[in-house]
């Protein structure tokens, strides 16, 4: 099984504003580190040619979407917290608003499957309303792929 992750950020200002300029400048080098990271499988990209283009979607303005698939929880964790990405993350308050509700969700997908953004948003909604479960969890309350696979609901979710 592979691990899918959706991570939303609420921008403090429009993506093309001066306030976000430093963040936009970091998109290319940091995404390049993700793409080369051990265990990286896939991420949702707006454009193959413009590395600074952020994902366009219908879920509201000022909402930045990071959506990716990894070979394991450890590979994702090592990219997020054990690479130069950590330093960018530390600066998040300069660019993103603090959110009271969860903005990140993970779940297991069969290898070779690329989930849709609509499904990802549903998983996040599920985490927000029902708390962590094998179908929608966080780092702190993580589930292994076998815990997820042994649940009858997992088959339902894979449809």
């Amino acid at each position: 099984m592979h691990l899918a992750q959706l991570n939303l950020a609420h921008l403090r200002a429009p993506i093309d504003s001066a306030e976000l300029a430093e963040f936009v400048a970091l998109l290319e080098p940091i995404n390049a580190i993700a793409d080369a990271a051990p265990g990286f499988v896939w991420r949702l990209k707006e454009s193959e040619s413009d590395p600074t283009a952020t994902v366009r979607h219908d879920y509201g303005d000022y909402l930045l979407v990071n959506f990716s698939v990894w070979e394991s929880l450890e590979s994702l964790w090592n990219y997020v917290y054990r690479s130069p990405h950590l330093e960018v993350l530390r600066r998040r308050r300069e660019w993103f608003q603090r959110m009271a509700e969860p903005t990140m969700v993970m779940w297991w997908v069969p290898e070779g499957t690329i989930p849709t953004l609509a499904e990802a948003m549903q998983r996040l909604e599920r985490l927000r309303t029902e708390g962590p479960s094998p179908e929608a969890f966080t780092y702190k309350d993580a589930y292994t792929s076998s815990e997820a696979a042994n649940l009858p609901a997992a088959a339902e979710a894979r449809k």
């Binding site: 997020v80 917290y81 690479s83 950590l86 530390r90």
Partner: protein, 214 residues
């Protein structure tokens, strides 16, 4: 107190086992029987015997390294050892600081008090540093469990002393750790900017430039 932990740690009372354990830990990854034997100053056979005892007790893990050459005459894969990920601790009387620290970390998160937490960590670092003024930072960090080593002109830290908390709340704990290291440098009378984030898998998130010139 867990009897298992006590039994495992008691194995290190033997000086040979202890130096073998330290040799493997200092290797930072897979260490062969021969290398460990050489570092501990004992024969390969004796080293193998004691290393396997440490594996049995769960202090080390073992694996096999494929031979460099393939085909006939290349020999069997070499047995290698690395430090176990699991933690062992013994405290008398029993103490549990991790549970409380983890709750406090959650409180910082709930309050959005990261900046104050970093400020407090910087202050704590300064006080530690001031108590060791004039001592080399390598030694002070070494005594605090960071396991410093040099690589490419940097002083890297092999061990994260806050590992369990850093796994739970990486952003908060790594930020506080950086502030603590910077405060510690200041307390020692050195340039705090020597410490910066340079995270690598399996190690501490902080690295120090060797001198304050760069």
């Amino acid at each position: 107190m867990s009897t298992d932990d006590l039994d495992a740690l008691a194995l290190l009372n033997d000086p040979v086992r202890r130096s073998l354990y330290e040799a493997v830990a200092a290797g930072g990854g897979d260490v062969g029987r021969g290398e460990a034997a050489e570092a501990a100053g004992v024969s390969r056979t004796l080293a193998g015997h004691h290393l396997d005892k440490l594996v049995e007790a769960g202090l080390l893990e073992s694996g096999f390294r494929a031979p460099a050459k393939k085909g006939p005459g290349s020999g069997r894969p070499a047995k290698v050892y690395r430090r176990s990920r699991g933690e062992r601790s013994v405290s008398l009387p029993p103490r549990d600081y991790v549970t409380l620290a983890s709750v406090l970390a959650d409180v910082v998160d709930l309050l959005g008090a990261e900046e104050q937490a970093e400020k407090a960590a910087r202050g704590a670092g300064e006080r530690i540093g001031a108590r060791h003024a004039g001592e080399p930072v390598e030694r002070v960090l070494g005594e605090r469990g960071y396991e410093p080593y040099e690589e490419d002109g940097l002083l890297r830290l092999r061990n994260c002393p806050f590992h369990v908390l850093a796994t739970d709340q990486p952003l908060l704990v790594c930020s506080m750790n950086l502030a603590l290291c910077q405060g510690l440098l200041r307390g020692l009378g050195e340039d705090p900017a020597r410490a910066r984030l340079d995270a690598r898998p399996g190690e501490c998130c902080v690295a120090l430039s060797k001198t304050n010139e760069d």
